[in-house]
Symmetry: C2
Subunit: 833 residues, 2 copies
């Protein structure tokens, strides 16, 4: 895993093996490895010093603050030990996903026993001094976090926010036909919504071209302070549930009532071999074309006591096999001699002297349990996806340029044009690019991709099904959580993709975005983590054009949410037309370690910039549209009309047109912003404009009217330090809306052309009285426009048919429905067509 | 439902009835009612005029923009018709929850047929003119939305964002022992995470004291553009899944291949009677104490063609029983005569002349299918919860006051103190107050409530289980979605509650909050909707004290998310100590139609205000803490130190202490903000301070240093219009963190006392050179504090043991662990204890 070693993937042929009971030597090895991992985990939670218990435990050896989670750990290490045995025997490339990521000590211990930890953190050596540091650093200031964090080798999954273990696991498995992903799901975690639906991922995996996810439900019975639902329903119900999810469940249960661990080891090993053989058989059948229907993939239910092997009862209270073992079972370890002895007894129960020699080195025989090299789960390159990352082959977006003889002359559906280019991306990258979406890829107008690929569907297929197949580049399930989780897993293992979503409902994954952004932020500070492809959003069916729906579908706030994260990580783009969208997306798909949020329209709309102009405009991130303004070179403008987003841009241009016709002497500057982060201070964001540049473009002292796609406060938040901020007036979405016409929507939120003209009149000094008649006309125009909608149910022709005046009669249309004049119905119609 | 009618709840005894095949007259009535509803639904989507088809359909009768969703509608009306028959016979109080809320036309039609629509919207009469208006207004500017929105009588569930049908349904059923909630779940909706876990709600419902949810999975096979997973797995898998979820599934399938609807009606009626009888039997058993285990509640799977009864094929493409019927099947209705005829044929296929007389009145016999009065599902008072709302009986929070001899003298865990008061709330309101939380109620220190109630648990109970019982006031499941959905359903049906959650993970329900806030905003404009209790959040285990976890658990951004919604709806409180938390929560539980976000600490922290002071402080929403500052009355302060949040308040006070000791001549004003919305402009928010008042408190021209709990930009966003904004400098969380000590966390984010002192020195004019030594000391103090943590793993005593100087030796402690000195371990310990 260290970055200078050659990376070799280990394709396997998914061999089947005879299932024989564990021989005694292997059994001893498995158990010893497990004890070693548990010992190291307990050591991390409690010990500052005396790592090998070479001397009697003293109060000062114990950390003053005891932080971390024990309860889940012994189950995680148990599974790791058994997987080590099985995958080493089969040389099976395996990624381990830890749902209950709070079990950090267990996974750190495993990586340490694997040797990986000392390879990437050379100071943490495999001797007693290294072990001392390993213990000390855990949950310690300046040390490592308590979770299976980016710092943990072998992890793509922090697990702090529960619920995404399976969708991450499937994301990792897609297009990795030789990879096994062992995904542990906490039984508490299984109660979360995202996890509950993610079992159905098995309908979206292709047995031939994808890897295999082995879900392991860790039924330790408890969560923080309660039993879990799945542990407290009759076993036949639980088995029905798993069968209902399309799995063949295998139960391993043990460790209760002082049952000898060896018995449980034997049971586990047998089931694991059986399950791996069953997987091998499915894989074989797939390769031989013998699979006629979706396999009922095996899964394992592991029922063991929470906190297994810790002191069963402390201070008279049940701890092992209880929620009380969740965090630090013996929080009072330092407080009394008695408690200290309980801790020492617990540690010694793992018989460290049998596991490590006096120098702290793991016994060779025990170490031999694990696979070697990149086959170690802690060292798999799949968990450091950047190592495997290949650049995308991108078609030239210029080939998809919308022809723009004069600004605004050509109507195009931006996302539809993008879709045509994306079809080229799909074609050129048949195994490392995926598009995910919650049943909206076509609704979002990316249907051109279905010319070259299909939607994956491993549930029942019927004659007449459109664009569904056992394999394909598009993943659609009505779960934004699944889309996000799958894509994250796919990116984290070194591939590329994008998530297209209704703008409003992307809030469903706010918290998942948080976790991914945090992951990226931390990985940037970890030298051995290699950059991965960015997480790209395409948000469309946006707030201004939710014609079929209404208020519940109007929310542009994801941008606000995103900009709270570290500036180095987030980018927000609002391309005003089809050509700028193409340029933007080309840029996004080339970027690394970012989250790119792109908001774009799907309805027919004017294209303003030629491709050359679009390239320049996007490179700048914002720019003055001289052709749209009326300023005289060399003179100061009287007012700046700024816009960001397709609909605001249209309204600003229409306002500029009104101003040029009615107030020809007014010097109007029109500025369009594509890259929202340009507004921010250069000290705050790497894309930020210098104050000097900002002042030049927006003026330090003239009224700035900003028509913004989303909530207006965001623009203030980004610009409050700018010289001219006191002159900045922002119009945007102010949470007014319903099912109505597009222009009624902008009027409801005071973002319409007429209102903007009024704003100019109200704000440009000395204009007021001179332009009083025009202002009154604008008031009347709003009324007239509103009344028209009430009467006719569509927008007034003077608005609907408005085109940028230079267009004249040369207007053409590209990508619009059926060519020709855009009828009201079809322009807003057919999300499902 | 109209507000001046007396509200009567209809308790039933859940009668069982003999299951007999539908007699022919009833069958005809059911079918006619269904056809009438479908006719009205199609009319709403397409027609501007000619509602009864009195004349041949003309192009101008058709809306220019065709908006809405047909596909789901016939299934929704089918179920409504059958429920009408069954609940009328049993006089069963019933609430209908429409998962696929895009089926608005169906539910509006039902309410119109019920007569409810004309009662609440008196202009929409039950005659042809009323019908014309009904059709016209749908998805029309100035009309009604396309969804089952707040405007729709009988609805508590907009259904725009899919996934919450069942959690809302269960929320409505809790503590309504006589209520049946029929909850339709779309098969696409069933793919969402929240819906997938919400089936398990049946483990949290008490057969005796709660109502009954009857889930109906609407398996119409398709979503927007794809088949659905549940429709494309073998039926035995689907049945296993439902059994696994703990249900007894009943399948009704029909309407395919031109099957006569009558056959399907008979099947449906029989199953419905059987299911209601089974429910009656369970209820009976519960009342008689015969239930020994959780009943396997029945649920229905209704498999019918999507778009059932629309033209099967249009322009050569399959529409009925296909995703193509999802939205507007005949988007081109106006375009050609042929298409117009298809539409007319479709409308006439419902034989409107048999359903309505020439004046447009529904045939009496058909109308008699529905129940009457409040038993009409469209008129149930449970769907207009404000009608049923009773004020909470609140204990006097003063009885729980923490005694504060001098400011900061008493340590208390704020949420623990709140918990003691909440126990009193629980006691006094045994059937209309609930606390929900994702397995964190005790971790969030509200454990006192378990002295008076239990957590509901209708899964298996075992000896040794703590505070679990078949009935109780606390609902805990590891799903923030479930918590939010349950509570929403509970509030919308006229009850009270609060949701306690880790601050970071409340983002999981960002989008659900959006929908609820939007619902509240709209209901405020609907005269017949009565105010309901506010949605109260208690966010704790907050960003500054996630000692056991780390970066993934640190996110104070929910506040930012919330303030994007309408100002009338949202309130944000950051009480600095236990007493102010008590006052705040008393206020929140009395409020109506709001979302109250309260962020508070759970760790031992000083209490600054006596209860009298706390009451005054909270009434003002913010205030100068004269005792903490050093300003001379009558003089201008040199600097304002402002704070919001418990940890920032502590740091500001410690900084004020340093300043008073080292720069005794500096006039320091200390301001604490509890009600964050006070910062906003009075034109923007009802709680906003006037500019005048703001200037008085914060000064128009002195440096203001604001130590804020969350992302610092929010304070700028709220105050950018204020006179002194240019002098405002905000410190807050800037996305730096890991598992470390509390003081290291504030240092990482430059919010610590030493940094604040440096900020003062850097910002107060002329102080710089005079205070250079102090500044240097502060730099050193930070280094010293950091090094101490690296060495000892806990915070340096000078910081950890700092108390407000007036406290001297009189410091006492209330509610802290075990009384006495707070040890590092226990102060941060035991989330699960
Ligand atoms: C979404 C989410 N909500 C709440 C939490 C707080 N939390 C941390 S661990 C835990 C219990 C987890 O239980 P389980 O999945 O059974 O894990 P295990 O028993 O293996 O520790 C909870 C609720 C969380 N991490 N994520
Ligand atoms: C969370 C969410 N994601 C996406 C959508 C967009 N959407 C609207 S309707 C629909 C399909 C719903 O299918 P189903 O639940 O089967 O309803 P029905 O077939 O009855 O229309 C989708 C994906 C949504 N409303 N909510
Ligand atoms: Mg568990
Ligand atoms: Mg459906």
């Amino acid at each position: 895993m260290s970055s200078d070693r050659a990376v070799v993937d280990h394709p396997t042929s998914w061999p089947a093996r005879e299932v024989t009971p564990l021989d005694d030597a292997t059994l001893r090895r498995v158990d010893a490895w497990w004890r070693a991992a548990n010992y190291l985990a307990v050591g991390q939670i409690y010990l500052l010093d005396n790592p090998l218990l070479a001397e009697p435990l003293h109060r000062d050896h114990v950390k003053p603050r005891l932080l971390g989670h024990w309860g889940t750990t012994p189950g995680l290490t148990f599974l790791y030990a058994h997987l080590n045995r099985a995958i080493a025997e089969r040389a099976q490339s395996t990624l381990y996903v830890t749902g209950p990521g709070h079990g950090g000590p267990g996974l750190v211990a495993a990586a340490y026993l694997d040797g990986t930890y000392s390879e990437v953190y050379t100071g943490i050596t495999q001797d007693s001094e290294g072990m001392r540091k390993l213990f000390r650093q855990f949950s310690f200031p300046g040390g490592i976090p308590s979770h299976v964090a980016p710092e943990t080798p072998g992890s793509i999954h922090e697990g702090g926010e529960l619920g995404y273990a399976l969708s991450h696991a499937y994301g990792a498995a897609f297009d990795n036909p030789d990879l096994l992903v062992a995904a542990v799901v906490g039984d508490g975690e299984a109660e979360t919504g995202p996890l509950a639906t993610s079992w159905h991922s098995n309908k979206f995996v292709d047995p031939l071209s994808d890897g295999v996810v082995l879900p392991i439900l860790h039924l330790n019975g408890y969560k923080i302070a309660n039993p879990t639902v799945l542990a407290r329903i009759p076993e036949d119900e639980l088995l029905d549930l798993m069968r209902g999810y399309g799995h063949t469940p295998y139960v391993v249960s043990g460790g209760f009532d002082d049952e000898d661990a060896d018995v449980v080891h034997r049971r586990m090993a047998e089931v694991l071999d059986e399950v791996l053989n069953q997987i091998a058989e499915i894989k074989q059948a797939a390769r031989e074309g013998r699979l006629t229907e979706r396999p009922k993939w095996p899964m394992i239910i592991l029922r063991t006591p929470k906190g297994w092997t810790c002191p069963p009862v402390i201070d008279g209270k049940q701890v092992e096999d209880s929620w009380r073992s969740h965090q630090v079972p013996l929080a009072s370890a330092r407080d009394t001699d008695e408690h200290l002895q309980v801790l020492e007894g617990w540690l010694r129960s793992y018989r460290p002297e049998e596991l490590f020699d006096a120098t702290g080195r793991l016994d060779d025989d025990i170490a031999s349990l694990a696979p070697i090299g990149d086959l170690r789960m802690s060292a798999t390159p799949h968990a450091n996806g950047g190592l495997l990352l290949r650049d995308l082959q991108l078609p030239d977006f210029r080939d998809h340029a919308v022809d723009v003889p004069t600004p605004g002359a050509t109507m195009a559906e931006a996302t539809k044009v993008l879709g045509e280019w994306l079809a080229g991306v799909v074609e050129r990258n048949p195994d490392n690019f995926r598009i995910v979406g919650p049943d909206e890829t076509a609704s979002n107008r990316l249907q051109a991709v279905f010319g070259v690929t299909d939607k994956v569907w491993n549930a029942e297929l019927r004659p007449g099904d459109d664009n569904l197949a056992r394999a394909g580049r598009v993943l659609e399930m009505l779960s934004e959580h699944q889309c996000q989780g799958w894509l994250e897993g796919y990116l984290l293992t070194g591939r590329h993709g994008l998530f297209s979503c209704y703008e409003a409902f992307i809030h469903i994954v706010d918290s998942m975005f948080n976790q991914h952004a945090k992951w990226l932020k931390v990985t940037r500070e970890i030298p051995w983590r290699r950059p991965i492809a960015s997480l790209n959003y395409l948000l469309t069916s946006h707030v201004w054009r939710q014609d079929h729906n209404g208020f519940s579908h109007q929310d542009p706030g994801f941008i606000d949410h995103v900009v709270n994260k570290k500036a180095e990580i987030v980018r927000v783009y609002l391309p005003p037309d089809a050509n700028t969208l193409l340029v933007t997306y080309d840029h996004c798909l080339r970027s690394r370690d970012l989250v790119n949020v792109v908001v774009a329209g799907k309805q027919p709309a004017p294209t303003f910039l030629t491709m050359d102009q679009a390239v320049a405009h996007c490179a700048r991130g914002l720019g003055i549209w001289e052709w749209a303004g009326t300023e005289e070179r060399g003179e100061d403008p009287d007012v700046v009309l700024a816009c960001a987003g397709d609909v605001p841009t249209l309204e600003v241009l229409a306002a500029a047109d009104l101003l040029r016709r009615h107030l020809p002497d007014l010097n109007v500057r029109v500025v369009n912003v594509v890259d929202l982060m340009r507004l921010q201070d250069e000290r705050e964001h790497p894309h930020g404009l210098s104050d000097r540049e900002f002042d030049t473009i927006f003026t330090p002292d003239k009224p700035i009217l900003f028509a913004y796609h989303g909530y207006p406060w965001l623009v203030h938040r980004l610009t409050y330090r700018r010289t001219g901020h006191a002159n900045l007036h922002v119009r945007g979405y102010k949470e007014e809306g319903t099912t109505t016409t597009p222009f009624d929507m902008v009027m409801l939120n005071d973002l319409d052309r007429f209102r903007l003209v009024m704003d100019v009149i109200d704000r440009v000094p000395h204009l007021g009285t001179r332009a009083a008649e025009l202002r009154q006309e604008m008031v009347d125009a709003r009324l007239r426009a509103r009344e028209w909608t009430r009467e006719h149910g569509e927008d007034i022709p003077e608005v609907r048919d408005w085109v940028w005046p230079d267009v004249g009669e040369t207007g053409t249309e590209v990508g619009g429905p059926q060519g020709g004049r855009v009828s009201g119905a079809s322009a807003t119609g057919g999300d499902n067509e």
